[in-house]
Amino acid sequence: MADKMATREAYGKVLQELGAEYPNLVVLDADLSGSTKTGEFKKVFPERFFNFGIAEQNMYGAATGLALSGKIVCASTFAMFASGRAFEIIRNSIGYTHANVKVCATHAGITVGEDGASHQTFEDLALMRTIPGMTVVNPSDGASAKELLRQVVAMEGPCYVRLGRAAVPFFYDEESAKEIKLGKGNTLREGKDVTIIATGIMVSEAMKAAEELAIEGIDCRVIDMHTIKPLDEDIIIKAAKETGAILTCEEHSIIGGLGSAVAEVTATNCPCQLYMVGQRDTFGESGSPEALKAKYGMTASDIYKGVHVLMKK
C-alpha cells in the first residue's frame, strides 16, 4: 500500500466496489468526473453514471428525484459548488424530503491550493450541519474514507461527505478502519492533560503535534471526529471532564464547523477551556497546499502552540 492517498481517490475506488454490491446505486457529476473520481464508477457502470454538465443546482434536484424513485444517489462536484452553489436545493429538496442522496464533495478546504480563494471552501461543514437530518462526514485518510463511504451508502437518508484533493498519509489500515463507526468519534491516542479533537486532514497534523508535545511531557488525547453530525457528544463530554481542556482543529472556518459544534456541546454540558485551530474568518489565496496551511494556521505547529496556550490557562 502506498503511504499516502487523497480521500477522493478512495471515493473512486470504493464506488467501483459499491456499484457491484448495490444495483440501485447511481452516480452523478457536474463536469468534474476526472477530479472527483466518479469517472472510476463510470468506467465500470457507464449506464448508471449521469453527467449533468456544469449545472450543480439541477444535478442535486435531479438527484432528489432519482432518490425519491428508489435509487441510492452519490452526486459529486467540488465542495464549493455542492455546498455553496446548490445549498438551497440541498436544503429544500434533499434535506426537507430526507431523500437518500449522498452529496460527496471533493476539493474542500485550503489544500485546493493554486486555484485560490474562489475554490477554497471553509463553509461547507457549517452549512451542511444546519440542515435537519443531514449526516455530515469528514474522513481523515484513504482507509477511513473508504470505510465511512461504505457506511454512508448503507444508511438511509441524506449525507454530506467532505473529500480532499491532496494526498494525505494513512494511519488507518483496512483492519483498524473496520472499527470506525459513523457517528462515533475514534480515540487514536489516549491522554490525560488535554484533548485534541481533529477532523479530516487535520487528524494527521494533530497526531504529529501530540508526538511533539509528548516529548515535553504533555500527554494529549487525540480524537478523530470523522462525523460532524450526528456528533458524538459522549466522547466530548468525557474528554472535557477527564482532561479539562479541548483543542479543536479543522481545515474549515472556525465559525460554524467542528470547533463550534464542540463548543455547543461543552457550553451546555461541561464548560471547559477551548482553543480552535482553523481558518480564521478570512478568504484564502493561491499557493501550494503546504505553504497555505502554514500561512493560515492549520499545521501541527499551530496545534502545538494552541495546546501550550491551553496549558497556561
Binding site: 468534474l32 476526472g34 449533468f52 456544469i54 485560490g116
Partner: protein, 272 residues
C-alpha cells in the same frame, strides 16, 4: 485595415499564457488560448480604456466570466501596460497579485473576481444596468465559456439583460466545443445556441473567433444594435496556436512541462 499587428499581439499574449502557466506548474492553458484573440481585440482596440487611468469614468469594462482563463487576461493586461510583464511569472504563487482565478482590486484592469462559472455574466448585467441608470457611455463585455452556458444563472442573466434592453452589454461565447469531461455535445449539449439566445431576446452574431476582421466587425455590429443585448458566438479552438494542445480536452487544466512549453513558445514564434 491591417490586422497583422493584432495577430502579432495575440501571439505575444499566447506566449505569455504558456510561460506563466508553465512557471506556475498549474492552470488552464486550453481555454486561455482559445479566447486570446477576442481578449486582444477587446484590450487593444474595441474597449475604451486607459491603462494610466484604470478606473476612468465611462470606461468600458470586461468581466471574464470563465474566470479560469485569467492567464489570457493577465497576459493581455500586462501587454497593454496595466502592470509589469515581469509579474506574470508570479502567477498562482503565494503572495502574488495574480491569483489562480483573478481577484478584483489586486491588479488594475480586473473588474470582477471570478472563478465560479456563470456568476460573472450576472454581474455584468448589473454593471450594464448601472451604466444605463447613470447615463454613462461605458459598455460592458462578458466572456463566457460554452460549457459555462450550462449553468442556470447564465439564462437568468440573459433573461434580465433583454428584459432591461441592455444594448450596452455584449457577451462573447468562446465556442470551443470542449469542457473538462470532454465535448459539450457529449457532456450536456447546449445547442442550438443561436436559437436559444435569440429566444432570450438577444442580437446574435456568429463568427470565427480567431479572425480579427470578423471579431471587429461583430463588435461594430454589437455597438450599432439598439434596444437589445448582443451575444457573439465565437467559434474557436481550445489550445489554439499550440499544435499538441489544439482541440484536446486534456489540456483544459494542465500545465505543460519544460519541453512542451519550449515547443509551444517556438510554435507561437516567441522566444524562450
Amino acid at each position: 485595415m491591417d490586422y497583422k499587428q493584432f495577430e502579432e499581439l495575440a501571439s505575444k499574449v499566447r506566449v505569455d499564457i504558456i510561460k506563466s502557466v508553465f512557471e506556475a506548474g498549474s492552470g488552464h492553458p486550453g481555454g486561455s488560448l482559445s479566447c486570446a484573440d477576442i481578449m486582444t481585440a477587446l484590450y487593444f482596440k474595441e474597449m475604451n480604456i486607459d491603462p494610466e487611468n484604470p478606473l476612468m469614468e465611462d470606461r468600458d469594462r470586461l468581466v471574464l466570466s470563465k474566470g479560469h482563463a485569467c492567464p489570457a487576461q493577465y497576459a493581455a493586461l500586462a501587454e497593454r501596460g496595466y502592470f509589469p510583464k515581469e509579474e506574470l511569472k508570479t502567477l498562482r504563487k503565494l503572495g502574488s497579485r495574480l491569483q489562480g482565478h483573478a481577484k478584483m482590486g489586486l491588479v488594475p484592469g480586473i473588474e470582477m473576481s471570478t472563478g465560479s462559472l456563470g456568476q460573472g455574466f450576472s454581474v455584468s448585467v448589473g454593471m450594464a444596468l448601472a451604466n444605463k441608470l447613470d447615463n454613462k457611455e461605458g459598455r460592458v463585455y462578458a466572456i463566457l465559456g460554452d460549457g459555462e452556458l450550462q449553468e442556470g444563472i447564465v439564462w437568468e442573466a440573459a433573461m434580465s439583460a433583454s428584459h432591461y434592453h441592455l444594448d450596452n452589454l455584449c457577451a462573447v461565447v468562446d465556442w470551443n466545443g470542449l469542457q473538462i469531461d470532454g465535448k459539450n455535445d457529449d457532456v450536456m449539449t447546449v445547442r442550438p445556441i443561436e436559437d436559444k439566445f435569440r429566444a432570450f431576446g438577444f442580437n446574435v452574431i456568429s463568427i470565427n473567433g480567431h479572425d480579427f476582421a470578423e471579431i471587429f466587425d461583430a463588435f461594430d455590429q454589437a455597438r450599432a444594435c439598439k434596444g437589445q443585448p448582443t451575444v457573439i458566438v465565437a467559434s474557436t479552438h481550445k489550445g489554439h496556436g499550440v499544435s499538441f494542445m489544439e482541440d484536446q480536452a486534456g489540456w483544459h487544466g494542465k500545465a505543460p512541462n519544460e519541453e512542451q512549453a519550449k515547443q509551444a513558445v517556438e510554435e507561437l514564434g516567441g522566444e524562450w
